[in-house]
Symmetry: C2
Subunit: 128 residues, 2 copies
DNA sequence: TCAATATTAGTAACTATTATCAGTATAATT
DNA sequence: AATTATACTGATAATAGTTACTAATATTGA
């Protein structure tokens, strides 16, 4: 039931996400995909971003800046939000899986996952 | 400049936050403080919550569920959001300060802070 | 008591996101 | 190729969370 049909808009959104490391918001995706599909609607972008996240083809990043960010790289990795330019950057760092064990130590429930966001200054803003 | 004046509403909000471990949203604070000040406005709650966070007297927790949560306990500690009942619980666990070092290892910028949120099942929901 | 001004209640405005729906695109079937 | 069924789209309305505005009120220091 609910068979999935191809849509060029969805493909374009997926392609856009795969092709950027900027961790765009829905609106940034909208602006980007409009280059190819000027008539695409913002609702379509939201609908497909949600779809891709559900399918595990994209990640939703909650950065606390008022809007969700999206990442086409679904490999587990961590992010930094620059306090200066407010960009979201990938961090190349070791896995933090062990913190789930630390969290579970004195806890009566179950730890299934974690989300980590670092704050600081990106290499460019550090210079200033 | 901009001297701060006492306000009973602000005190009530602060008292409410201090007296709960429920990590309430602005609206939950509003409902709670209305018991004491039935005429308090939601805008006043938001204004004062922002003020308290700025002053370091409360923490804002971005949990990705659509609204911000607030915590009157400003001692560094970590949280779990239960995937079942969607409550936010305190975790008693070791500090994770060392992950800043891990993040900084291969990074050209500066790591100043991190926010960590765990997901799983609280002790009560685990039983079901 | 009085003046100066920070704060409030009430409401309007704003932003991000979701819902609705008639028309269109896709895909399977004839 | 034509037909049918239905998933998807664009456009727009609706919703939710939060902030901005303003006249009236509360606080504070003189």
């Amino acid at each position: 039931m609910a068979a999935v049909k191809y849509s060029r808009q969805r493909e374009s959104i997926k392609r856009y996400l795969m092709g950027t490391k900027a961790h765009p918001t829905a609106d940034m995706v909208y602006q980007g995909v409009r280059e190819e599909y000027p008539n695409i609607s913002l609702g379509t972008v939201y609908r497909n971003l949600n779809f891709l996240v559900e399918q595990g083809e994209a990640l939703r990043l909650t950065c606390g800046d008022g809007s969700e960010h999206y990442d086409g790289n679904v490999e587990p990795h961590y992010h930094l939000m620059c306090r200066c330019c407010h960009r979201v950057l990938d961090l190349e760092m070791a896995s933090l899986e062990h913190i789930n064990t630390l969290a579970a130590a004195n806890f009566g429930g179950t730890i299934e996952a974690h989300s980590v966001l670092f704050f600081g200054r990106c290499p460019e803003c550090k210079e200033v």
